[in-house]
Symmetry: C2
Subunit: 368 residues, 2 copies
């Protein structure tokens, strides 16, 4: 499978939902497979909060492949021998697209706290400019999970003639207060970390010292992305061999796991980017600009495929069922499919239990 | 209803499970109602993580009554016209019993990080000394929820002839990794807060500045103590009127609620005490010292009444059902009752939805 990583620069303004304007912006993206002659074999993949444009394949020096490598590749459900797959790093994210640490062309300084709030629609709008620049006007499918699923829903509503199929996994039509509350732990722990310096931290300092506030916020996420049952299976009550049971900071294995994964996170993720993305997710509402969610979904022209996960503790299956019910109610029952996967990995099942739904995706893609 | 608040001082060593020894200790406690002549009308109430000895009634200057005032009082389920109710502040807690900020009699300095780790059994053992000092040898009932329910279970196993009835609500026989993970957020956010000063903060400084790390830890608790459905009902997607939707730190109402409740918490609760109590809860395991949990529950002599809450996201109903199933399996089916309350307030239902189970408690107390 051929991986290409490129940066697209746009020297035209992007008008944002907030009314603010990005005078210019960049998107870093990867493609897998080959674009066919009539450009009819495009599949767009959208990433989640901590994801990146590196969705599949492996660079020479990489221990782990891209985040959805189980789904995307030669002979896999999203078959790169057949499809041309594009995944761009979301605007605002930390992996190379324009974000809060980019240079504001009007001031020549980093945006920092002056970076505009982005909505899911803004992110999708920027992606559409990318496809246009590549001469791509249609997609066979858009596929995304979690925050990527929000983008997928946005494509189905706001660009109803772009994709033939839209797959939205482990997501919601509007972020509920439960998910907002979980993000709040990160927001507060980042902003109250003195090393955050109200957004004016030095990048070198952070690389040297880490940012515990971001690690702790990530920890809250890690818990919400998994499930009580998975924790039971994975860790039980195993205790760290090196630690005393009656040491105040002695640790159960689950605590070691959280420490390891949380404290390594600030090395790869910028705290301002995290704050901005939390905000983007929190304010996502597919029903905005319309009186009702029904009115939004009336615009859908594609086949919309929803996949939920039974033990998802972040976006619960009933949030996806609400979308299915609306589609049926507004007479679009023939355009909607819904599958709840009996999962064991919580919200993260869309990333790790791919074998439970990849056949389902193949069937929908190939036979419809 | 008569409220009495007293402090009991014990100048005898308390031998702890860890092998460490508290040379002397104090317990602050409240009583409600009158002890009858043959001392047969005692009901022991055990409090949860953030609770105190002030379980019921209202002091002259108080806006809110004690934490279980809905359950305890004249004419209530735990009727103080009939019963003599005792609730002591747990050893290690912040409200007046011996804790990490108490003076170590051997060094004449505050314990701080040298305070011993306490187990639920240690806490109960100290309470038993209190009852003995009051001439009380038996209780009509022991009642507790959450960490108070762990104490209740401990009474039933370790002091099998003490209580006639034991009521354990919203609790577990051993703390699962999910609950340990939630406590981990608090542990990490406290210890990494520079104002914590590795446990050597000045109390005056904390009173003046607060401790964001403790507030953030509390925030994780507040989320886990409630439920997604309650958050939907209580907050929906209401946004703070004063805040802009596209302000980075603009807030949904659920965020305002979390801020308000979390940031006021360090004013009443000491961070070292919080760390020690998290540890106590994390290492609770009613099966310890025995090969199996079955062996532990074989010791139970009382009637053991379990009440779980359908939407409890901290200690799930199946954790209580496991205890019921064990009791039946070991031939003690006639000593166990189990009720799952269809609740809407998550884990906190044991505190706020008392009207859904108080009749149940009355029936069990009065007719058995």
């Amino acid at each position: 499978m051929k991986i290409e990583t490129k940066v697209a620069k746009f020297n035209e303004p992007l008008y944002l939902e907030s009314g603010r304007i990005l005078e210019s912006y960049e998107l870093i993206y990867e493609t897998y497979g080959e674009l066919n002659e009539d450009k009819s074999n495009v599949i767009v993949v959208c990433h989640a909060l901590a994801g990146s444009h590196h969705a599949a394949g492996r660079y020479a020096d990489e221990a782990k492949p891209g985040w959805w490598d189980k789904l995307i590749g030669d002979g896999k459900a999203i078959d790169t021998r057949k499809y041309f797959v594009i995944c761009s790093n979301n605007l605002g994210s930390t992996f190379g697209s324009t974000n809060a640490l980019s240079i504001d062309p009007t001031t020549k300084k980093e945006y920092r706290l002056k970076f505009p709030i982005l909505t899911i629609s803004d992110i999708v709008k920027a992606q559409m400019k990318l496809y246009k620049s590549l001469g791509i006007e249609k997609a066979k499918a858009v596929v995304g999970g979690s925050m990527g699923g929000m983008q997928a829903l946005c494509y189905s509503i706001e660009f109803p003639n772009f994709a033939e199929h839209v797959f939205a996994l482990a997501t919601t039509a509007y972020t509920r207060p439960w998910a907002i509350a979980i993000n709040k732990i990160a927001i507060e722990s980042i902003r109250h970390d003195p090393a955050f310096k109200d957004g004016f931290y030095s990048k070198d300092d952070l690389e040297a010292q880490g940012l515990p506030g971001l690690a702790i916020g990530r920890m809250a996420g890690l818990i919400a992305y998994l499930s009580p049952e998975l924790f039971n299976k994975k860790f039980g009550r195993d205790y760290a061999r090196t630690d005393g049971l009656y040491e105040l900071f002695g640790r159960f294995e689950v605590e070691r796991y959280l420490e390891y994964n949380a404290y390594s996170f600030p090395k790869i993720f910028d705290p301002l980017s995290y704050l901005y993305i939390c905000k983007t997710m929190n304010i996502f509402d597919a029903g905005r600009n319309e009186d009702t969610l029904e009115n939004s979904f009336k615009k859908v022209n594609c086949k919309l495929h929803l996949i939920s996960f039974s033990d998802d503790m972040l976006f619960f299956p009933d949030e996806m069922e609400e979308i299915r019910d609306i589609m049926i109610k507004i007479g679009k029952g023939d355009q909607i499919t819904y599958k709840m996967v009996e999962s064991e990995s919580g919200h993260d099942s869309f990333l790790v239990e791919v074998e439970k739904f990849d056949e389902h995706i193949i069937n929908l893609l190939e036979n419809n």
